[in-house]
Symmetry: C2
Subunit: 97 residues, 2 copies
DNA sequence: ATATTTTAGTTTATAATATAAACTAGTCTA
DNA sequence: TAGACTAGTTTATATTATAAACTAAAATAT
C-alpha cells in the first residue's frame, strides 16, 4: 500500500481549517472564518484566493450594512478534493501494524 | 471544539511519511526510507536532520559492507508527537456534522 | 593501474509557501 | 472633522521544501 501524494493546496493548516469549516457550514463570511481559524486577515485573504484559484471554493463579495462582505462556500470540486486528501492522509496516520 | 495547531515538524508530507514508516518498522536505513517515500537523497537528508533536531528520531551512522550506512529509529518523543499530531489532525478531517 | 560508474550520502542554491506588516477604502463616532 | 474602527488586499519578509551540485569512497571495467 503505497503512500499517495497529498494535495498541496489542502496540506496547509489554514487552508485545511477553512475547508473543514466550509464543509460543515456550507457558507461562511470572511470575518467568521477569520475568528474560527485564528488567522490574520492578510493570511486568510491570500489562502482564500488560493482555494478559489484551485476551484475549491466560491467567493462572493457584496455589502452588508454598508460594509463590504466576503462570503465563501465550498464547491463540488472542493468536497471531492477534501475527500481524496483525507483518504490519502489516512495512509500516513493509520495505526502502526 | 477548537482546532489545535498542527506540529509543523510533522505537517510536511515527507517528514510525515518518514515518521509513519518508522512507527511501523521501528528502524530503517536511509536507502530504504528513500525508496519507500520516493524522496530524493538530498531532500531526505535535510528532513531527517530536522526530525533529529526535533528529537523525534535517532540517527546512527555506521558502515555495512564497506559502505556508510545511516540507520534511523523513532524516539519516544517522536511517537508522542505523532500521536498528538494525529489526534489534532482528526479534528480537521472528521466527517462533516 | 587507472578511468568510469555506483553507492551513500551532504551541502548549497533556488523555488515555493506561509505569514505578517503595511496599506487601501470606506464607515462610524465623539 | 479628527480619530478610531471595519473589512479587507497587497507587498515584503521569513520559513520551508526541493533539487542540483558536490563529496568521498568503493566497485567495476579497460
Amino acid at each position: 500500500m503505497a503512500l499517495n501524494d497529498l494535495d498541496p493546496v489542502l496540506h496547509s493548516q489554514l487552508r485545511l481549517a477553512v475547508i473543514s469549516l466550509l464543509i460543515s457550514v456550507k457558507e461562511a463570511e470572511f470575518t467568521h472564518i477569520k475568528e474560527q481559524t485564528n488567522a490574520t486577515a492578510g493570511n486568510l485573504s491570500v489562502q482564500l484566493q488560493k482555494l478559489k484559484e484551485a476551484g475549491y471554493i466560491d467567493i462572493e463579495k457584496s455589502f452588508k450594512d454598508n460594509y463590504p462582505q466576503t462570503s465563501c462556500k465550498i464547491t463540488k470540486a472542493g468536497i471531492k478534493a477534501f475527500d481524496i486528501y483525507v483518504h490519502n492522509l489516512q495512509q500516513y496516520i493509520k495505526p502502526a501494524k
